[in-house]
Structure formats: structure tokens, C-alpha cells
Symmetry: C2
Subunit: 450 residues, 2 copies
Amino acid sequence: MWNMKQLEYGALARRANQIKKELRQGVRRPYKEVIDVFQGDLHRAGMKPLTFVRQVLAACVYPPLINSSNLPLDVRQRAQEELGRCVGGSVGSYSAAPGIPEIIHSISEFIKRRDGGIPSHPENIYISPGSQWSISNILNVLVNREASPRTGVLIPVPCHNKTVLSITQLGAVAVPYYLSEEQGWALQVEELQRAHESAKGVCNPVALYVINPGNPAGYVQSQKSVLEVIRFAWEKRLFLLVDELYQDCVYGENCEFVSYKRALSEMGPPFSGTVELASFHSVSKGFSGECGLRAGYVELVNLDPAVMKHIHTLFSKDACSPVLGQIALNLMTDPPKPGDPSYLLYKQEIEQIRTVLVHSVKKVHEVVNSLPGFSCPPIEGGLFAFPRLHLTPKAIQKAKELGLQPDTFYCTRLLEEGGVFTGPGWEYGQKEGTYHIRYNTSRALFKVHH
Amino acid sequence: MWNMKQLEYGALARRANQIKKELRQGVRRPYKEVIDVFQGDLHRAGMKPLTFVRQVLAACVYPPLINSSNLPLDVRQRAQEELGRCVGGSVGSYSAAPGIPEIIHSISEFIKRRDGGIPSHPENIYISPGSQWSISNILNVLVNREASPRTGVLIPVPCHNKTVLSITQLGAVAVPYYLSEEQGWALQVEELQRAHESAKGVCNPVALYVINPGNPAGYVQSQKSVLEVIRFAWEKRLFLLVDELYQDCVYGENCEFVSYKRALSEMGPPFSGTVELASFHSVSKGFSGECGLRAGYVELVNLDPAVMKHIHTLFSKDACSPVLGQIALNLMTDPPKPGDPSYLLYKQEIEQIRTVLVHSVKKVHEVVNSLPGFSCPPIEGGLFAFPRLHLTPKAIQKAKELGLQPDTFYCTRLLEEGGVFTGPGWEYGQKEGTYHIRYNTSRALFKVHH
Ligand SMILES: Cc1ncc(COP(=O)(O)O)c(C=O)c1O
Ligand SMILES: Cc1ncc(COP(=O)(O)O)c(C=O)c1O
């Protein structure tokens, strides 16, 4: 029998894998399959990759395909173009450390279009093997390990947990600011103030980490909220780390993604020229969902040239990012255009993914709120639901007896009895005395659609 | 006119790019093309990628190719198998952080075969986005930034310069041990002793970095030499970091690659159970030459479980390595077998690359030694020549007047006047008063062969 006491961080995943294995070996359980809604991977959830992206990448990998009449003409031309940018015409050569220059240029053009014409400078953009890697590296630059008091970084609660891990591993202090669940997980400046005050005597806050749209809570910040945060960062001289990976995943009515870069620029002086900003994006999220290719980028704004030099060295020291991931980034930021042979299919696939995601989010929200003991504010963006569990005192007591966090106890039962693999709220942070679970909203519906 | 005084680290590369651009724009020079022998990239040097590797990767990227009768059957089967190991059947999903379990298992089998049956344990193997990344990460674990005196790492001179960069960036001290140029760049234990002694009062040496076969100097260590180094590491309680990326690139007569793992195992107690070892390998070097895919692995031996836990966390914090790189690692360590449809072509391509490399090395050695002012011991392995420049006092004087290192001055002239782009020896380290240049031995000949 599975000993519940053994459960800790990561143990749920191991247990889920064990159950999957047992099911394959014919062990009988009340379900035939484990539904894995723990991860945010779209391909894991059953989404098909975008045809255009995969065709171009395949032709780059195996250039004889460029001559194949089975592939659309624009795919073949694009592959040729991408290979022309690779040293020696091969995706097997190292590129320049910050990324292939033409691709960095194309990313800057994408940012400019997205931000209504506000310029973006290629020399401020670095490609990395996944955005998590650049988040870690920028944190590395911001954190002074020898400082006393220690360096502090303000983080939202709940928060994407890999970033919290990076902060604590660097010896810095993660200072929590709580998002307001009652207000649909809104980010409130008074709470930022409180968090900043709370750091006094504990650490020296130098940066503010924001996730917009959110993970695990599915909020989308309004323009007003973005402006407030920037003003706060300016007042307190905080470096803004903005994780904008889910910028394409916005579903809420009256919701719109507003980039920090644009908002900052439009604020004008003194803000626009002083607030230091790092904005992260990636091929992992949005509609390409190519987590396994490992490519993200960071755009840096208003950084001191000396710091930029240091960042350049850090981003160069392990050579370059995977070249195929870089090409995927280019395809994401410079997709087929109307009139191109691949355009219609591309558009159709994107629309279908969007439809599934919007539909999933609605459905999940409905179902969750109809269950006794659950509540969940509207999910406006991102890929996750983070509903609250209203556990009975008896369930909490039982969990404590087992030496478990109450939400871990709940997730374990959901896995053991229902075959559904979710994440317990404490892994992402939550207000004391509240309990949540996190799960990927898209999984169930992709499975139905294919 | 190009101002020679502006030259510093990286400036030669910028100048080479500028000249390339000018040549494209029609500027006349005594040469039509810049010959770039600075980098160690085989694809950049004109080597064609291995067909089998690229076909399998293409079919993994774009699975409809699995049904294409244009690809050999084993390629299609292999692609299917590799995709079966990917979560959700897509190279676009995250894998487990240390790597895809079946691929790690297959790497351990490869190591076992290579080492005459000595077991290799999958839980000691981690895949990373290039081996440079794991070298940096293991160094990160070994270096105590707060220690006084500072942490020391013994490094060969000349040395692969990215590793030196990592050491100094971590705040550690790189303690040089000089390879004996007179003895074909042999690694001598007396010199290790001297280097270790020299650290007294400066830093606390905790690790010894060895590159075998060498880069930039093309030596291959004998078994005797490997055993001596292990014994020295044991005596001084040094962690052995062994960079074995060029294990397939051995050309010298009577030369054989001996892995540190095997030598250590065969030494028996007390060595075999105590000396801590990290051995690095990569898809970048050897015959696949897939630098741009970014995949390497490290095998760890005799590490304390607490340290292994820490390493696990470090290797997990930025999610996984590029999945296509992982698959390429698997193809490198588990290539087509006799009887497989792709076997003959694969073998033929490998043989051809080997022939070109062996031929290049001989040629380069001959030519270099026939030039006045140059000398170079036999090149036994690796991808580089590191000949010595016997500069005249006048040339040295002239360089000094320009504020340049004498070898930089030479490389600059070689680039400006001859169109050949090489690296100055001081970037890799050299005995004071000696001057060298580094260059990739393979480039000229691949160009001729295609
Ligand atoms: C908010 C957030 N930031 C960063 C990442 C890292 O993504 P990647 O490293 O794949 O680009 C993720 C991945 O799930 C995420 O959800
Ligand atoms: C000796 C040595 N070690 C490590 C590396 C890093 O290789 P990669 O990170 O591509 O695996 C190189 C690359 O040139 C090298 O020459």
C-alpha cells in the first residue's frame, strides 16, 4: 500500500508515474488512464503542433526536403532563408551567442509591431534555451550574494514556482505580495507597499517579479494596473522582471494584453528613461507550445551599459541557444502572411487552438464552480486554473494526522481515487489557511477534439 | 584604415566579419574569401551532417515523414521509437529534467560498451543544453564563493577558454599547470605538483580540470598519464573534471583514447571508490558535429548523495534540455547496426569524415613545420593545431608599439593580408615569452572535398 506520509514536493509526480505504469501492466483501478493536468505543456495535453512550424524546421534539419514538392513553396523558401542565416548553412553550427542576428532583428520588429511602433533595439535582445534560463541569469546579475542584508525580490503569491526556486537558490529572499483572490487575483499596489515595508530589516528589495497573464492564477492585468506597478517600481527603484510568456493566451471579455514595455514608453519621462525592465517571452507558450525546443528571449530596457556588458558575458559563456529553437522563435514572431501558401492552414490551426482554449477555460470555470467545496474567479488568461478548495475541518485534521499539507492530501486522493493528477496550491504559494489546486485547463478538451 | 590598437578579445572576430562583409560588397583585397579556421565547428568548416541523424530528426520534427517511402525503413522506425519516448508523442513537450529516461539509459549502455563492461548508472547521468553548460554547473557546485582563501581549480595551459571564463566568473582562481610543449604537450605530474604548491596562500584547490584529447593542443593522454593524474587527484583530494569531448577524434599512431572512468574503475580500491569524477561528452564534437543542437551529458562518479541532490536541483531548475538534441545524443551513442538499411551509408560517411580529419591533421602538421618561424609537435587528437610562432624581436617590438599582444599582431596580419582568421595563443594561455596561434585543422580540407 502507498504510504501517504512519504509525500513531499515531487512525490505526487512519482506516484502518478507509478500508477500510469501499473495501469499499463493491467492493474485494475476505478479509471483506465491517469489524466495529467499538472503540467502546462500544450503538446502533452494533446495539442497538435503547428504544421508550418514543423515543416520549416524539418526542412532545415534535412535540407533535401527543400526540393520536395510535398511541402508548400513558402515552407521551402523559408527553410532556405533560415539556413542562409546559419553559419555554414547548417543548424548544426554554433550561432552568435546572443542569437542569430537576423532572428534577433526579426524579434525586435515583432515587438515593435506589437507595441504600436515603439522601437525595440536588437542589441537589447538575448535568446536563451528557454525563458526560465534567462530569468535565472538576470536574477543572477541582480542578486548580490555577499550583501548584508540579503537581496530581496518581490514575487506574487501564487507564483510560477521555478522562479521562486531560482531566487532562493541564489541566496536571495523571495518577498511575497499576495494577489487578491476576492478581486479575481488582482495585483494591488497597496499590497506591493505592504510587502515592500515587510522587507525592512530582513532584506534589501532590488527587483519586482510580475507574471502577466498569470500562472498559476489566470488573471490579465489591466492597463491601469500595469501603470500602477511601473510607478511603484520607479518610486522604490525596483528592477522590473516581467514574465509575459502568456501574452497570446487572453480569453476574458474586455481583457487585453498590455506589454510593460509599451506602457513604460507611453508614460514618458521620468519613467520611460529610468525604470529598468526585463521582459520575457518564449516559444513554449502561446500557440506554438514548443516547450521541448527550448527557446525564449528577453528584451532589456534602460539598463546601465556596464550591466549590459556583464549580461552579455553571462549569456555568452555556455555558447549559443539551440539553433532550431531560435528558428522556431523566428517563425512565431514572423508567421506566414496573407497570400502565402501556408497562410490559410496556419490561421485555421491557430483559430482552432484558440477556440479550444477559450472553450476549455469556460468549461473548467463552470464545472469547478458547480462542485461543492470549490470556488474559482473567472479565468482571463494563461493556461491554468487555480481554484480554491474549501476543505472541511475534518479533512484538514485528517491531513495533519498524516503529516500532509491539506491540499496535498486532496490532490493525492484525486489522483488515487479519480486518476486526475493536479498540483497542490502550497507549491505555488497561497494565503495561510487557504487551499488550492492548480491544473492545466486545456488538457481535457484537446483530448476530446482529436 | 583599420586601427590595430583597437584590438582586444573578440575584436578579431568582429574584424573578420567586417572584412567578409566588405568582400561581399565588392571591396578588393588580395583574397576573395576569409578562411575562418578560428572555430571548432565541423559544419562551419564545411562538413556535411550525417544523413541518418538528420533524417531521424526530421521525421521526429514532422511525423508525417514517418510514412514517407523516401526515407529508409530504419530511419522511420527509429523516429517512431524516439517519439514514443516523448511525452505526448511530441518533441515539443518538456522531458524529465535530467533527460528522457530511455535516452539516459542508452547513454549508460554506450559508456559501458566503451569501457569494456564497467557499469554505468543512469541515475549518475545528466543531459544538458551543450556540455559547456554542465561544466559551468558542476563548477558552480564546487566553488564556494564565500570561502577565504578562494576556491582554486587547476587548469591546463593552453586551455579551452570558456571553462577558464566560467571559473573566474564564479569568483574562483584558475591555477595553471603548463603542458610540456617540448614533449608533445604532455601532462606531467611534477608540473601538477608544482601548480598545486603554487596555490598555497593564494587559494584552496578543490578540483582539477583535464581535457583529453586536448583543445587547443592536440595531445592524447596515454593510459599511464591518465593513471598518474588520477593518483594525484586522489592524493590531493581533488575533484576530477574531465572534458572528453574529443574522444572520437584520435589520429596519432599508437594513440588510444582511455576514459578516466574506466582507468579509475580498473585501479581498484582505494581509488575506484573515492576519487570524485565528472566526465563530459557532447554531440558537438566527434563525427556528428552538431554544435547547434546543444546537447551534452555528464557522468558523475563517487559523488556524495547530498551533492548529487544539489546537482539534481541545479540541473532541474531551468526545465529540460532541447529534446531534439537529446535524440541526437541517442543517435550518437546508439547508431545504426550492421544489417540496418542505413548502416552502410552511415559507416561510409563516418569513414570519410575520419579520413578527411586524419589527412588534414597530417597536412597541417607538414605545412606548418615547413614554414619558417613555425613549429608544431605531432597532432594526435582533437580538432585544433596550436603551433608555436617564433617571432623576431623586431615583430615583438612592433606589436608592443601598437599596444598589442605579439600573437594578436600576427593573427591580425594573417587576417588582413592573407584572409585567414585564427586565434591568438594568449586567449588560451601559453608560457610567458612564447607565442602561438590556434586553428581548426579540418576546414581547408572539407572545402576541397566537397
Ligand atoms: C510563467 C512562466 N514563466 C516561465 C516559464 C518557463 O518557460 P520556458 O523556459 O519553457 O520558456 C514557464 C513555463 O511553464 C511559465 O509558466
Ligand atoms: C574542450 C571543449 N569542451 C567543451 C566544449 C563545449 O561544447 P558544447 O557546449 O557544444 O557541448 C568545447 C567546444 O568547443 C570544447 O572544445
